[in-house]
């Protein structure tokens, strides 16, 4: 053997986007050694040991040679173990152990996968962005771990070859074995499998809270619930993904991408069709919420993209974590900057916050006495800053439901019924804002409120009376109008009348009771 060279195509991930990586393998007679160049990280550098063992375990004897792997382009950092398979395939071709069949097109076939020492191929993170990028670069066939196959099969126009062992890959390339491509997964079919763990029908009583959730979902409004421990705040919040309109294909792609690079997708899953529900613990750091770490990973706000971010015990979150939420709430996108890497992640989520009314939790409870002094309650409530509250349109109070009511009352409306009303309200909004860059009522700013939320005469009289008697701020006034717009949309009415205003006013009353 003199010297041999091979090129194999693969893809890497930077932020939420994939980029092509050309794996070049160069074998030359000499001292047996392997070298990897092209800005590899530790996981990539370790892959030579995995490659060596996997090839031997597949029953192939490598010739004694000096091997150089180059991952081009050489100026972008390569991370993760997904380069194992393309590097091994390149080495096998370069050393002449595999002679690909004639129809093998190295420029339009991409490989991803992590190797085990026994030659098995393990699933990797970030396959969705890599596959999307592969398709954009004209790739026709991807060979990847079977644990990732369903995820990749959601992208139309690609042959997805699932493999579970290096031996299969060798035989496939040699043309001695044929592998059935993964069935393309139709998005509509996945959607039918969508399910939300908690259904509205499971909630007894709480008619006011149910209604508020419906309004919030219909307008995409953020919502805060105040109530005693055990009043069902968490359960109510968990219902929300189930009553939001179903995800569109684009939304699903955006969300799945982020989950894919974070390794949050379960093995064998395709695109996400249920809206995500992220409930970080209140000890969460700024980096875990917003995104960060050495390689600028996405945080909870991005994992909740197109879904629900639920912050239970809101005042217990650190002040800095809560303040950091303001940018994603405002812009729907976060820029995470670290020395080594900058990334932008989408983070347009519906915020649902829950909190107790006081440190002991029982202020205003009809069942237990509260032990807190007024200054203690004041300090507790003040941990939630005004600017954050300003971004929350709907405030509701939730009281615990007595056991008699839980057992006695009839089953309530199911999520599906509520979701249908929400969906029709959303489609009204979609039509109305088609010419502007808006999707739902929650996104209206003060200018567009003046344009789209004009109440009738009776309605504006009522709103002014309410603003006077409740000492509403200008912001509170605008919020009432926005929510009234959604309530009118739910009722299928174009003009905002006094009935809608009157209901919307109830969703601001906590300003008077707690934050005055």
């Amino acid at each position: 053997m003199s010297n041999q060279m091979a090129k194999v195509l693969t893809f890497g991930v930077s932020g939420v986007n994939g980029f092509p990586v050309q794996t070049e393998v160069f074998c030359v007679d000499g001292m047996p050694m392997m070298e990897i160049i092209g800005l590899p990280d530790t996981a990539v550098r370790e892959s030579k040991n995995r490659i060596n063992a996997a090839i031997i375990s597949s029953g192939v004897k490598l010739p004694v040679s000096r091997v150089t792997f180059n991952l081009a382009p050489a100026d972008i950092r390569k991370e993760g173990p997904s380069f194992d398979l393309p590097m091994a395939v390149g080495l096998l071709i370069a050393s002449g152990e595999v002679s690909p069949r004639d129809d093998f097109d190295p420029d339009n076939t991409a490989f991803f996968g992590e190797l085990g020492l026994d030659g098995c191929i393990r699933r990797v993170n970030g396959v969705l962005p890599m596959v999307i990028s592969a398709k954009e670069h004209g790739v026709r066939e991807v060979i990847l771990p079977d644990g990732n196959a369903r995820e990749a099969a959601c992208i139309e126009g690609l042959r997805v070859i699932p493999v579970s062992h290096l031996r299969e890959v060798i035989r496939y390339l040699n043309g001695t074995e044929n592998i059935v491509p993964e069935e393309p997964v139709a998005f509509e079919q996945l959607k039918r499998e969508a399910s939300c763990p908690v259904d509205m029908a499971q909630i007894r009583g709480q008619s006011a809270a149910r209604r508020a959730l419906e309004v919030a979902a219909a307008g995409g409004h953020n919502l805060i619930m105040i109530g005693v421990p055990g009043s069902g705040k968490t359960m109510l919040a968990r219902c929300v993904p189930g009553i939001l309109p179903p995800m569109t294909f684009e939304e699903s792609l955006e969300t799945t991408r982020i989950h894919s690079i974070s390794g949050r997708l379960p093995s064998g899953s395709g695109l996400m069709v249920t809206r995500p529900f992220c409930a970080p613990h209140h000890s969460a750091s700024v980096a875990s919420l917003i995104g960060g770490g050495q390689d600028a990973r996405p945080g909870e706000v991005s994992l909740a993209h197109n879904g629900v971010l639920f912050l239970d015990e809101l005042p217990e979150f650190s002040r800095s974590a809560l303040e950091a939420l303001r940018q994603p709430l405002e812009d729907g996108i976060v820029s995470v900057s670290r020395v080594k890497r900058q990334a932008q992640y989408q983070s347009s989520f519906m915020l649902i916050a829950a909190m107790n009314p006081c440190p002991c939790g029982y202020f205003g409870s009809s069942q237990r006495a509260c032990h807190c002094t007024p200054p203690e309650i004041r300090r507790y409530l003040d941990r939630v800053s005004g600017p954050l509250l300003d971004r929350i349109d709907i405030q509701i109070e939730v009281d615990s439901v007595p056991v008699s009511a839980i057992t006695g009352s009839a089953a309530a409306e199911s999520s599906a019924v509520v979701a249908a009303r929400v969906a029709s309200a959303r489609s009204v909004q979609y039509e109305r804002y088609r010419k502007s860059a808006l999707f739902c009522n929650a996104q209206l700013d003060s200018n567009s409120i003046r344009r789209f939320c004009v109440p009738d005469a009776e309605g504006s009289r009522l709103l002014h009376a309410a603003a006077d008697s409740m000492h509403m701020s200008m912001r509170g006034y605008h919020r009432v109008l926005k929510v009234a717009r959604t309530i009118a949309d739910l009722a299928g009415e174009e003009t905002i009348s006094s009935v809608h205003i009157a209901e919307a006013v109830q969703y601001r009353e906590l300003d008077q009771k707690y934050w005055r």
């Binding site: 006011a208 202020f363 205003g364 009809s366 237990r368 009157a502």
Partner: protein, 372 residues
């Protein structure tokens, strides 16, 4: 403020700091009449003083009777305009030297003459229900508007509501503190303190200036609260509340005690229910108290608010239905929705209308009630 009064108050503060039981201290004050004379008697080792006081007290009088200590007290007294009165003075409330464990020295700010009026002591917990606070304020206001001075303990919760109600009714109010008058305690009440004084009220304490608010001071000062009132009203007390201590002081002092029944299911008024079971007198309005005390010559400006007048404010049948549900007392949203059979969206709207017109209000816990 006259300088010599401040000097005399400093001597009395020094005397009060010795913590001599009143039965020992009263004869000394009767003998010498002023704090200054007692101080000099101690300095000159007057044999008459040694007869009246045990030797360890005499010793402590010498160790604490230093120039520095007296100057410290004098500075506090002049800075905070603190006045004093002893059991031998004419202006001293006579009742306080007659009660068990009598008071011999009182420090005060404000006007002692407001103790000449009819007086009611109102007590209740610091941790009170919203309804309890509201009731306390309303009753204090109505009593105050018929010329009655309300005495309370200036603590958070019910006490504060009583003082505020009294101020709104127009009569001066009396606050009995559990610490030196220079201390701002509780801190949340610093503006209330000014209001009390600006409205001809009175802040009193048996603790000398500089004394911190120690936990054991409070049950002790409660005997002054009950002692100063012609009757004692208990608004809200749990089973082991300091307010029940005040009630037992009141009973020992032979005062009339009135107990507010409260909501039968509320954990905040367990103590009230226990007293009522033991046969205490119950009341629900200020008029009840005035009638029982034979003070109806000057009835309170009660808000005319009978049930029918609330219902007459309703503008349509649904509003009437909602108000009818609220007549018995505060109701939660779910209860209202069930009883009236209205969909949540419509009910929320009606509640807003009623709130804006000032007929009902919403209270913490997602409850609504008729404004009394």
């Amino acid at each position: 403020m006259k300088t010599d009064a401040a000097v005399e108050t400093s001597y009395l503060a020094w005397l009060a700091d010795l913590n001599v039981p009143a039965d020992k201290l009263l004869p000394v004050i009767r003998e010498y009449r002023t704090g200054e004379r007692i101080f000099h008697a101690a300095a000159e080792e007057d044999p008459r003083l040694s007869e009246l006081l045990p030797p360890d007290v005499i010793r402590r009088m010498k160790t604490t009777g230093t120039r520095d200590n007296l100057r410290r007290l004098y500075n506090l007294i002049t800075e905070h305009k603190i006045l004093s009165v002893t059991a031998v003075d004419d202006s001293f409330p006579p009742i306080l030297s007659e009660i068990p464990d009598p008071v011999s020295i009182l420090f005060y700010q404000g006007d002692l003459s407001c103790l000449q009026h009819r007086r009611i002591s109102m007590v209740g917990s610091r941790h009170a229900s919203y309804a309890g606070l509201k009731a306390a304020e309303d009753i204090a206001r109505e009593l105050s508007s018929s010329g009655i001075v309300i005495i309370s303990g200036f603590a958070n919760g019910i006490d504060t509501a009583c003082h505020q109600g009294c101020l709104r009714g127009g009569s001066p109010t009396v606050a009995v503190l559990g610490c030196g008058l220079d201390r701002s305690y509780p801190t949340a009440n610093s503006s209330l303190r000014k209001q009390v004084l600006d409205n001809g009220g009175l802040l009193i304490s048996e603790f000398s200036p500089g004394q911190p608010p120690m936990a054991f001071h409070f049950p002790y000062r409660n005997r002054i609260i009950s002692g100063l009132g012609d009757a004692v009203i208990l608004m809200e007390a749990r089973i082991r509340s300091g307010s029940l201590v005040t009630v037992s002081h009141a009973l020992n002092q032979g005062k009339e005690v009135f107990v507010y029944p409260g909501d039968p299911s509320s954990p905040y008024s367990e103590g009230n229910r226990q007293l009522l079971r033991e046969g205490a007198t119950y009341f629900t309005t200020a008029r009840d108290i005035l009638a029982d005390m034979n003070w109806l010559d000057n009835p309170p400006d009660e808000v005319q608010n009978s049930d029918c007048s609330v219902l007459s404010k309703a503008r349509n049948e649904t509003e009437t239905a909602v108000l009818n549900c609220l007549l018995p007392g505060p109701r939660s949203f779910d209860q209202l929705a069930d009883t009236c059979g209205l969909p949540p969206a419509e009910l929320l709207g009606i509640l807003t209308m009623l709130q804006i017109r000032g007929i009902i209000e919403s209270v913490p816990g997602k409850k609504y009630q008729i404004i009394q």
